[in-house]
């Protein structure tokens, strides 16, 4: 039975019609009567005392409505921006959290930190007002270098050594013992370069306050409107949740950077209430560079102990993670529970010990960015495994095979707190090797050499933990929120369906894939399904989208709601057909009585539910609308094999990716076209990190890669035509058997590229990004 719009079909995206015709409705497209405009005054200094602020000229500027400072917000009882995950140090103490006022009060700690907001009748008036502010800064020496941050000036009064926590995971003694018996130890020092997210749509907010009802409405570019509302209500103290509605309309990309609760929307919604006028803000690209949470930024030493036959005995990892100047919403969890827990990779390494020290510097806050911790972990594991293969003279694919967790080993409990439910790593590697024509690599390398070029091949057999997350596991590890999801199926009188989900699409295509699920399960025509999301006024409390969770968690909630619809539909049909409920089957949109020719269509049952003439009202409520919450019992574990082949011109240092193969196991797939698109986007970002992108602060803490002149985004001509394929081991614990595909490309690809570059050059390591200059210098060595 093939449902052309059901699960597994490459249905074209419903969303695209509006996106490619310019009729999408983004936050900045939404206006309100009497709207004012906010412009944030941002610190030009990386670290300074703010000794005073003279706003008189700003207030006298034509069209300026108000100037608000951090002190104004504090005086009104507005609280700090919280970090939602408490990580504990080795000694059991909770992480040390510095104060984080939305708008700086008496000191600034990174370039771009807002120290005032100017509200104007027009954007120009607000800009002129901001220009007229006179801030009295007293500059202090900035802490910029991560490696020396622990011994540098103390940034926050309550944070000695600039350290928020010193965390560990795994068995230190067992790991040390493994190293003591090692035949060979490989070690590697790795810098995971800082990235700036650069979603195509800059962050924006429109705050409104209705004096009649006391209701606040915030339109903003959030991946997670309920979390935004929770934080603004419970921590920032804008208003109780019931008087605060957060709407994320169309959102143009997030990559993690729009999960967090930022200063700007906080100030905007507060100011709207204060002024009793709508307030609009949209970031300029320069502001996005400065004030969106950045990603990655680790310095790591990794060591792998091996037996003579290449069996992994132990892995030891010590990482310094840069938090930037303050703890962003989920910053603490990224280099710990989303990083250290992934150090087993696809391998049966019996002993693992990870230490992570997270430090403050006078730079923009760092938080989750596509993959969030897992790309960093994969980079460590796959670079050290490749290094060991080269040092021991074992084929890199073969060394991995010797250490893979076998299909018969599942469920497999790693030494770093996770239990993998299923996988077949050998299968994805074998398929990738075939696509990459690994057997022919020698001949291609010889041909390149004959032409004066250097050719290299690199592998990355990654794993990730997705489908965030089992609430009780996450909460026991420090999460301040549950991580379930909600799904609602509202069947209309005529049998069309409205789905409401608490997950959020900012590129993921919920309107298409969730409609496919309804089409498949209820037999409702695809075009008769509407999917609503991104509105706390429409959906119950849920947790939004990140960590490749929409389908694995949100889709599972939807399935539970669908099951309730079908169960109720069967009761209604049984009554109408005068049969026993157990005799009624439902398939392809039709309720049938077993061993009879009696049947009812789904719309007939829906109609009966709302026009209950022939209906068991004494036993059953009218209506056909069901909702379900789903809390996953485990993470999902997408995994795969990426193989990158490069050719380098030693004269110029230019790296040409001649082929890139990604074979991923995402479990079952609802829409293969969308999955392929997600993989392509992820690969572009992972390759971007390896070759192009770098967030750079100079020694005084100035962001010198703060525009597209200096921060290189990957473009089509930087990338090859990808070979993307899949293998399938269905997730064992969710009803769709899905694992999630949103981050895999960015998680697996970076290590594959750098393994290929180092292989081509015959060197142990090359720093990222491997720009032509960096590669040329390495080639000269």
């Amino acid at each position: 039975m093939a449902n052309e719009t059901g699960i597994g079909a490459a249905v074209k995206r419903k969303e695209d019609a509006r996106f490619i015709t310019g009729t999408g409705r983004y936050t900045d497209d939404i206006g309100a009567h009497g709207q004012t405009y906010a412009v944030f005054a941002r610190s030009p200094h990386a670290r300074a005392k703010l000794n005073g602020l003279d706003a008189s000229a700003a207030l006298a500027t034509e069209g300026v409505v108000a100037v608000f400072t951090g002190a104004d917000l504090q005086a009104d009882g507005i609280g700090d921006l919280p970090c939602g995950w408490t990580v504990h140090s080795k000694d059991g103490e909770p992480m040390v959290v510095p104060a984080h006022p939305p708008i700086a009060v008496d000191k600034v700690n990174y370039v771009g930190e807002p120290y005032a907001v100017v509200i104007g009748e027009s954007l120009e008036a607000a800009k002129n007002g901001a220009e007229a502010l006179e801030a009295d800064f007293e500059e202090l020496p900035a802490v910029v270098d991560l490696a020396s941050a622990a011994s540098a000036d103390q940034i926050h009064e309550n944070v000695p050594n600039n350290q928020t926590y010193d965390w560990e995971l795994g068995d230190k003694a067992a790991t040390d013992a493994a190293f003591a018996q090692a035949h060979h130890v490989s070690s590697l020092e790795i810098v995971n370069n800082r990235l700036i997210p650069n979603a195509i749509e800059p962050r924006a907010a429109l705050g409104e306050y209705d004096a009649a009802s006391g209701l606040y409405t915030l339109h903003t570019t959030s991946q997670n409107p309920h979390l935004e509302r929770l934080v603004l209500a419970a921590f920032v103290q804008i208003a109780p949740e019931a008087r605060l509605r957060v709407i994320s309309p169309d959102v143009g990309g997030g990559f993690g950077s729009k999960i967090f609760v930022y200063a700007e929307e906080t100030a905007v919604i507060w100011a709207a209430g204060k002024l009793r006028r709508p307030v609009k803000w949209r970031a300029e690209r320069s502001e996005s560079f400065l004030a969106d949470a950045h990603g990655r930024d680790h310095v790591t030493k990794a060591e792998l102990a091996l037996a003579e036959d290449g069996t992994f005995l132990g892995l030891r990892v010590k990482t310094l993670a840069n938090m930037g100047a303050y703890l962003s919403t989920f910053a603490s969890s990224v280099p710990t529970y989303l990083y250290g827990t992934l150090m087993a990779g696809q391998y049966k390494t019996p002993a693992i010990y990870v230490e992570v020290q997270s430090l403050f510097t006078n730079t923009a806050p760092v938080d989750a960015y596509r993959g969030a911790g897992r790309p960093e972990a994969t980079y460590v594991v796959e670079r050290i495994v490749e290094t060991a293969a080269r040092e021991m003279g074992i084929d890199a694919a073969e060394l991995r095979r010797r250490n893979f967790i076998a299909p018969s080993d599942f469920p497999y409990e790693t030494p770093v707190a996770l239990t993998y439910d299923t996988g077949d790593y050998e299968a994805s590697l074998a398929k990738a090797l075939e696509h990459a024509d690994y057997a022919g690599f020698g001949a291609r390398k010889a041909a390149s050499e004959a032409a004066g070029k250097k050719r290299g091949i690199g592998f990355s057999c990654y794993i990730e933990a997705c489908g965030l997350a089992p609430s009780q596991v996450a909460i026991s590890l420090g999460a301040g929120v549950g991580l379930f999801e909600v799904g609602e199926v509202r069947v209309d009188v005529t049998g069309s369906v409205t789905v409401v989900t608490g997950s959020h699409s900012h590129g993921q295509s919920h309107e298409t894939t969730f409609a496919q699920i309804i089409s498949e399960k209820l037999g409702v025509p695809f075009e008769n399904v509407t999917v609503l999301h991104g509105d706390t006024g429409r959906s119950d409390y849920a947790l939004g989208t990140y960590g490749s969770r929409s389908l694995a968690v949100g889709g599972s909630a939807l399935i539970k709601a669908i099951d309730k619809i079908i169960a109720k539909g069967k009761k209604i049909a049984a009554h109408m057909l005068e049969a026993q409920e157990e005799q009624v089957d439902f398939a392809d949109g039709t309720f049938t009585v077993a061993d009879s020719n009696q049947s009812l269509t789904f719309p007939e049952v829906a109609f009966a539910a709302y026009v209950p003439a022939n209906y068991p009202l004494e036993e059953l409520e009218p209506g056909l609308s069901e909702k379900a919450f789903y809390d996953p019992p485990n993470f999902t574990y997408p995994a795969g094999a990426h193989i990158c082949e490069v050719e380098i011109d030693p004269a110029t240092g230019v790296v040409d990716i001649t082929s890139f193969v990604a074979v991923d196991d995402f479990g079952h797939i609802v829409n293969p076209m969308i999955v392929e698109g997600q993989v392509h986007g992820g690969l572009a970002q992972g390759i971007g990190q390896a070759l192009l992108e770098h967030g750079v602060y100079d020694e005084t803490g100035q962001l010198v890669s703060g525009s597209y002149m200096d921060y290189t985004m990957p473009r089509a001509d930087d990338l090859p035509s990808f070979t993307v394929d899949t293998t399938v081991t269905p997730c064992t614990h969710n009803p769709l058997g899905v694992k999630g595909c949103g981050e895999a490309g960015a998680i697996g690809s970076t290590a594959a590229v750098m393994n290929a570059v180092t292989n081509a050059l015959g060197v142990a390591s090359v720093p990222m990004p491997a720009t032509p200059e960096t590669v040329w210098r390495a080639a000269q060595a």
Binding site: A41, R42, S43, P44, H45, A46, V111, K127, A130, E131, A132, L133, S286, F289, L290, D698, T700, Q702, L703, V704, G706, S707, M709, D710
Partner: protein
């Protein structure tokens, strides 16, 4: 940021020294200068409209003369505020050498740093912008000093 330069001016060292200490001359010669006022002994404030790449703003510079050895050398300590455009600060060491009675060689060495939007999007443009401003200054200065000498 560091930058050095050298210019030869057709005037005596005393004349060049005098001109370099005359706010009216400086106001005429600094491109985009809106005002140059004496704020104290050896202290000036300049308001200058300038452009570094895409960053265009009116900058207020507080200038202080230090280590003055008339008519040979001094050091300018400069702090520049550009509001939303950011800031610059640094010093310029200026030396005058007599080439002949009517010819003076001026050398300068600037050390400084920039911040805010100037650094964010102007970092790699600021060297060129500084060089251009210096060239423009000395071009005007040469003409100005020539005119005042009746050349």
């Amino acid at each position: 940021m560091e930058q050095s330069g050298e210019y030869t001016v057709s005037a005596s060292r005393e004349r060049v020294w005098e001109a370099l200490n005359d706010p009216e001359v400086l106001e005429r010669c600094v491109e985009g200068c809106r005002s140059m006022t004496v704020t104290g002994e050896g202290e000036f404030e300049a308001v200058v409209a300038a452009k570094v790449g895409p960053v265009k703003a009116t900058f207020t510079a507080a200038i202080e003369l230090q280590d003055v050895v008339a008519p040979e050398s001094y050091r300018l300590q400069v702090g520049v505020k550009g509001g939303a455009a950011g800031f610059a600060k640094g010093s310029a060491a200026v030396q005058l050498a007599e080439c002949s009675r009517d010819e003076t060689r001026l050398t300068y060495h600037i050390e400084g740093s920039i911040g805010g939007k100037l650094a964010q999007i102007g970092s790699r443009l600021v060297q060129a912008a500084a060089r251009k401003m210096a060239a423009s200054f000395f071009e005007r200065f040469a003409v100005d000093i020539g005119r005042s000498q009746g050349v």
